[in-house]
Amino acid sequence: MVINLVDLWPLVSSQHFAFPFLHLVATSLLSSLTPYSEPNFLFYFAPRPILLINKSSRLCLQPSLFCRPKMVSLARALAVSYPAGCPCTNTHAPRRWSSARLITLKDPNSRLKWRSKAADSDNTPPPPLPSTSAAPVDAADSAAAGFCIIEGPETVQDFDKMELQEIQDNIRSRRNKIFLHMEEVRRLRIQQRIKSAEVGISDQEPESDLPDFPSFIPFLPPLTAANLKVYYGTCFSLISGIIIFGGLLAPTLELKLGLGGTTYADFITSMHLPMQLSQVDPIVASFSGGAVGVISALMVVEVNNVKQQEHKRCKYCIGTGYLACARCSNTGTLVLIEPVSTTVGSGGDKPLSAPKTERCPNCSGSGKVMCPTCLCTGMAMASEHDPRIDPFD
């Protein structure tokens, strides 16, 4: 059976179809899948998806234990949480998931309610921003998965119960998803450019996520990635022009820049100084040198500005993406206090043992937690390249 998810996408993305669609997907999976994923099986599904029915047990959706993870999962398709490697049978102890994040088949109304609440109000909803047209869609799957992007004290334990192999599989599958999504974005951008050209919209610059930013030097126009090239070009040509002027033109033309139209040689003679001094014309030399120096200094400043602005830092975490964990005051460990006996008995003679420490549950020992303002990216405007990769770094 071939299900082309792409064709079904409009259905999925429409607000009220998501849940019935899930049902359809679930039943079709159960009925038709074979142990090994077929090459023409265009339907994306998770390596070992689990559909949680309620808190204490789960219905395993996976068709087999042996699905190869090469089929990359599309979270949207199933909107499930992925404890990869979970066995199909119920013989394993049910995993406990934080109730806040469960989405249950038993309660489809909650999700529909959420959607309808967002959609209907007695007033017009704010117009969706163009760059976020995908956001409601993504909101669907993430919300459906019960995943909340903001951390709390218990959330680092989210994937706590998974086995090491499961975790590795999950990481791999998610990273695959990310690459796929990036590729999709790239193709969509191509389409976008094609279509805007068709419609006749004037060729827009590739919309970058970062707006232009003001120049450090007063009175100059704001910089963007595009006109940075113009800046470089102008600077370069100015410098070379000045060098050529100072080095070639001025001596060749025997410019008389001194007072009263005299050359430097005349000046030297008039001052009765040795003629050797006249070999270099200081007026032109100083002017050229100064100009080149100033222009290159300004250019360096501007380049610095560009670097800074492009990675405009989130002020809360100063660009690191993380905030110090308050539970352990940034150390990563919690000191356990044992009551110390002070009686003059056998306990009094023993030296105090070093206080035991345990790993801080808030930050799992890393000493830092996610910055909720920049979502761990460290940038004021979050984008794909960020410090989420290694929380222990």
Binding site: L129, A143, I149, G152, K315, Y316, L334
Partner: protein
């Protein structure tokens, strides 16, 4: 949402560029019920020639509905003043020492200061007029409020796929803060602030509620709805800061009236924000002006979006500005009931913020296209004026 912190909803405009937003959000003043009635009477008699149908509703939602007195009571009781977290049973049972050591806290407060200086420059300058302890507390509160706002209105709010889960979790974290278990360094600064000043959790909760409202509501039918919103996002700020500012021991007014005045100052600030940013908000599809009142003056959303200033619009704006001013007057009466050291910054904020309304008038009520802006010079001039107002003693015949 235009909050008193002048955070622009979902825009990339540098907030701190707007230096006309000042610490005015933090100021609260005491006013007696009679003074309040007086002001209302004044408002209604101010324009004797206008038919009564063109006058706007003055009172919003009674504060008893908002359960402000609970907050007042909890924040006034001195028993809770020195909050100790050692009574946290879970902590005791697990024998884990909650570390809020000095160095960590100092760094947290320092970071709060930097953020305040970065995002609210004029407000920051105002806080410099306060005592050191109060300053730190205000910064910590500011950072929390700003972070909460950025969840809904910040540049990355779209990635957060703002739904109730995010704000629910944020509220859980708030509860943890009040239980002495802060999650990150800014939470820790707020936890320490709570141990120093008798703050109650309800205003913070109400602010989160206001953020929730902002995720789905973009039109307001009547003034009551708008008042509720203003209470949530700005009135709560006033309530949060009264314990920090402190009430003067020589004041004869009751705590309730002082808190009411603080609330009114917050409302006034928020209304001013709204009136200043009509055009900007309209561009983003939000109209905060009550629909019924627009209709009362023969206007509608279309007029707001059109960007054209008509005579009808001017009349409407005049009435709105009058009402906003009345809230400032309500708040003004008892500015001197605050602690001595806190009066000057409060008065400064009040005066500067009220002058934004003057600027709107000077722009010929064109808040659809122009942004009313109080220049630096004018702000500096307010400082000595505020100083003189701050020196006046509380009126002795004030009824509690």
């Amino acid at each position: 949402m235009c909050s008193v912190f002048s955070l622009k909803p979902c825009s990339n405009v540098a907030i701190s560029a707007d230096s006309s937003i000042t610490e005015s959000s933090w100021k609260r003043n005491c006013v007696s019920a009679t003074a309040r009635a007086q002001v209302i009477v004044n408002v209604t008699t101010a324009a004797p020639n206008k038919p009564s149908s063109l006058l706007l509703k003055q009172l919003g939602i009674p504060h008893s509905d908002l359960r402000v007195e609970e907050i007042v009571e909890r924040q006034s009781s001195h028993n809770e003043f020195y909050r100790s977290f050692s009574t946290d049973h879970e902590v005791m049972s697990r024998k884990i020492k909650p570390k809020l050591d000095g160095e960590f806290l100092d760094e947290s407060y320092e970071r709060c200061r930097e953020i305040c200086a970065e995002y609210a420059k004029t407000f920051y300058l105002g806080t410099r007029l306060m005592t050191e302890e109060r300053r730190k507390a205000i910064w910590a509160i500011y950072v929390w409020c700003r972070r909460t706002d950025e969840l809904v209105d910040g540049p990355n709010a779209d990635y957060m796929m703002t739904n109730s889960t995010v704000l629910n979790r944020w509220e859980e974290r708030l509860e943890d803060i009040f239980n002495g278990r802060p999650y990150d360094m800014f939470d820790a600064a707020l936890t320490h602030t709570i141990s120093q000043f008798p703050l109650d959790i309800k205003p913070f909760r109400d602010m989160v509620e206001g953020m929730r409202m902002d995720t789905w509501k973009s039109r307001y039918q009547n003034f009551e709805e708008l008042y509720l919103y203003c209470y949530y996002v700005a009135g709560t700020v006033g309530l949060m800061s009264v314990p920090v500012m402190g009430i003067s021991p020589t004041s004869s007014a009751s705590a309730q009236t002082i808190y009411d005045a603080a609330l009114y100052l917050g409302i006034g600030n928020q209304l001013t924000n709204i009136l200043r940013d009509v055009g900007e908000d309209a561009l983003r599809g939000r109209v905060y002006l009550p629909q019924e009142e627009l209709a009362q003056f023969g206007l509608s959303d279309r007029d707001v979006m059109s960007g054209k200033v008509t005579d009808g619009w001017r009349e409407f704006m005049k009435a709105q500005i009058t009402r906003a001013r009345s809230y400032f007057n309500l708040a003004e009466e008892g500015a001197s009931h605050l602690d001595d050291a806190s009066r000057w910054p409060v008065w400064t904020a009040l005066l500067v913020y009220r002058s934004i309304l003057d600027e709107i008038e000077k722009n010929d009520y064109d808040n659809l296209n122009k942004r009313a802006y109080v220049g630096k010079g004018k702000k500096l001039l307010m400082l000595p004026l505020a100083y003189t107002r701050a020196q006046s003693r509380p009126p002795t015949l004030l009824l509690p």
